[in-house]
């Protein structure tokens, strides 16, 4: 198959972390410049980042920091202007549109803030969707398994309008993991949910990550959400300003969400000592 050939033409050596885990995402010196007429607007100005297999990472940054652009590039929806991007060993920066679609299908699972479920389509059909484009057999069986994994085995034939927000997002998570992707990318996954449903979704993400070893990257501006992950990366003006492990991540459901904003900032205090707090959130 043409695609398989382009995937492995040159030998790529997986970098590993100190625990010997291979890098699923390996970007080096990525820049992204948008052209608006004659003006060039840089969105990313040299970002290097490795996410290793089994990590649960959050990317934070104020709006305009480039985190959306970074997510689009990580999700193979867009190509960097310069720099290299290896996703699970595949040199994504060199692929054409058609192959990018295949990469998205096989190696990436997306979870969106607004769920993006199809109207009038049962949960089972929603989850089957990536398999539809990827080919392969056992679609229904695999979709069932994914829905069971997110605890929705009782809701398989429900339409989106028959499900709560939290349940809809869980369907979306099942859809993201059904293809057994190298990485799950979530864009503000709790942004449209109340705190109880948000916790429910965070619980699923943690469980997916801890028991199934699914590498997950969450983009969020919510420090409380970030505090649930193992590692926080801060972006500002198109560059990474901080990248640090979270000493003891919150186990979803064990800590009440702080009720006011100042307390919310405190959530991050014990994680981040460098830089000014207000720059990050």
């Amino acid at each position: 198959m043409l695609f398989e050939q382009t995937m492995h033409t040159e030998q790529y050596v997986f970098p590993t972390d100190d625990r010997g885990r291979p890098a699923v995402i390996d970007i080096q010196n990525i820049t992204k410049v948008y052209r608006m007429g004659d003006i060039e607007v840089p969105a990313l100005r040299g970002v290097s980042l490795r996410v290793y297999k089994g990590e649960f990472v959050s990317i934070m940054g104020p709006s305009g920091s480039g985190k959306s652009t970074l997510l689009q590039i990580l999700g193979a929806l867009d190509q960097p202007s310069t720099g290299s991007y290896y996703l699970d060993g595949v040199d994504v920066a060199k692929l054409r549109d058609r192959d990018l679609a295949t990469i998205r299908n096989r190696k990436i699972g997306f979870v969106f803030q607004s769920f993006n479920l199809l109207k009038r389509t049962s949960a089972l059909r929603q989850v089957e969707l990536p398999l539809l484009y990827g080919g392969g057999r056992d679609r229904t069986r695999r979709a069932r398994a994914a829905l069971e994994a997110v605890g929705l085995s009782q809701r398989m034939n429900h339409m989106p309008n028959e499900l709560s927000g939290g349940q809809q997002q869980r369907v979306a998570i099942a859809r993201a993991i059904v293809n057994d992707p190298a990485i799950v990318l979530a864009d503000e996954p709790t942004g449209n949910l109340d705190s109880r449903s948000g916790t429910e979704v965070l619980k699923i993400f943690q469980e997916m990550n801890r028991t199934h070893g699914i590498t997950t990257v969450v983009v969020t501006h919510d420090p409380f959400v970030a505090r649930h992950t193992d590692r926080i990366i801060m972006l500002r003006d198109g560059v990474i300003v901080a990248d640090q492990a979270v000493p003891d991540p919150i186990l979803a459901g064990t800590v009440e969400r702080p009720s006011d904003d100042s307390q919310l900032d405190n959530v991050l205090k014990d994680v981040y000592y460098a830089g000014k707090q207000e720059e990050y959130a």
Binding site: T102, N105, N116, R120, L129, L132, Y133
Partner: protein
């Protein structure tokens, strides 16, 4: 994605917007049923005309009087066709290849039997008529030379005329009828010819000796200045197909000479073969059919534009869905196929309903006017199916490619 999935997807798409799909289809339904109905209408008229002329007989030509049309038209005194012209054509030394020549003098007259009366086409002719038209009496006898020479008051009736004038069971031969109040004796009844289907029944006819028709039934103006009787037409039957063209030329040469025609455009007669008549009518009906099809075709195109319009609306409405499909790995062709099948399904289902509706219209029209006998022909059905598929593809490609080439990032961000 396999094609079966694509079909299921398209069907789901159409069903999720039922009313809109039906309204869109309506354009195609009307267009296709118009094509089907109008094409079978044109076909019906064509069949009708062919049937009518086939009942005339083969290897026929008609010599008809004509008003000169050339530059000298105003000064020329046009000579009518006469019995002598007919005799000259029948002369084998003048024109060869002729099987029969029958002059006809034809008028409409009221025929009365007892209390029954009807207006009939009454033709005066000679015994040759039955040979020329290949139409013989089924009962009694036809006009004979003696009847012509003596201007006998005898008449041969067509079968439909008999049916209308006489009571069932009556024996018409030997009875007296009055034509324009002049008594005639019925000597024979023609075989039923059929054809023509009821609009112009060839069997509603009466034949009398031409001499009787000219002297007793015709009006005095039918005489020429020299006192000869003018006839309405001369029917000529050639021996075979091959003789038609040379015989036609020979007749023209003979009559040009007899009528002293010197210049082109001064001709006061014309010779038309049955093939020519058929082809003239064929051209007219062909033109009619083409014109009707054109109108129907325009309505199909309008229907197609409706499909395109709705597909564009549908694509815009489903921008986020398209973005999501792209995010989970749908390729250009996957989306192209999904939307193209949707538009093709719209127009093909519309086309099928249109064919049924058009067939229904043709069926009802046939019931109303049986002589037209509209039939749903396979070519018309294939044409309608093909055209509606083509419309689905043609008008679906642009919306589908618009969906397929959307930028996934922008599509996902679309509100």
């Amino acid at each position: 994605m396999n094609i079966l999935e694509a079909f299921r997807l398209a069907l789901t798409g159409l069903l999720s917007n039922r009313l809109r799909s039906i309204l869109t289809m309506l354009g195609i339904i009307i267009g296709v049923s118009a094509v089907i109905a109008l094409v079978s209408f044109g076909q019906g008229i064509q069949n009708y005309i062919v049937n009518t002329f086939q009942s005339l007989g083969s290897n026929l030509m008609f010599v008809l009087p004509m008003t000169p049309s050339g530059p000298n038209a105003k000064t020329i005194k046009a000579k009518p066709l006469t019995m002598d012209d007919a005799k000259a054509i029948a002369n084998p030394l003048e024109v060869s290849g002729v099987a029969a020549v029958a002059p006809i003098y034809s008028i409409y007259a009221t025929v009365v039997v007892n209390k029954n009366s009807m207006v009939l086409q009454v033709g005066g002719s000679t015994p040759e008529w039955q040979v020329a038209r290949e139409w013989y009496p089924g009962q009694g006898r036809f006009i004979e030379d003696g009847d012509v020479s003596t201007s006998a008051h005898v008449v041969v009736l067509g079968s439909s005329a008999v049916k209308k004038l006489f009571d069932p069971g009556d024996e018409p031969v030997g009875q007296d009828v009055r034509i324009n109040n002049i008594p005639f004796r019925v000597i024979g009844v023609l075989e039923t010819k059929g054809g023509g289907g009821g609009l112009a029944d060839p069997d509603q006819i009466a034949i009398v000796p031409i001499t009787t028709a000219l002297t007793r039934l015709g009006d005095a103006r039918a005489r020429t200045s020299s006192g000869a009787y003018a006839v309405s037409a001369i029917v000529v039957k050639t021996i075979s197909d091959k003789d038609t063209t040379p015989t036609k030329k020979a007749i023209e040469r003979l009559l040009l000479d007899r009528h002293n025609v010197e210049y082109r455009g001064d001709e006061d007669f014309q010779v038309i073969t049955s093939d020519q008549i058929l082809s003239i009518f064929g051209n007219i009906t062909g033109l009619l059919t083409a014109f009707l099809s054109l109108i129907a075709g325009i309505s199909l195109i309008v229907g197609g534009i409706g499909v395109m319009n709705i597909m564009l609306v549908s694509v815009t409405e489903r921008t986020r869905e398209i973005g999501l499909r792209k995010a989970v790995g749908a390729r250009y062709l996957d989306l192209m196929l999904q939307f193209l099948i949707e538009s093709v399904m719209l127009s093909v289902i519309g086309g099928m309903i249109g064919i049924l509706l058009g067939a229904l219209v043709a069926f009802v029209a046939t019931r109303a006017i049986p002589s037209l006998s509209l039939s749903l022909t396979l070519p018309a059905v294939l044409l309608a199916t093909g055209v509606s598929t083509a419309i689905g593809i043609f008008f679906g490609i642009y919306p589908a490619s618009r969906a397929a080439s959307m930028n996934p990032i922008e599509a996902l961000r679309y509100e």
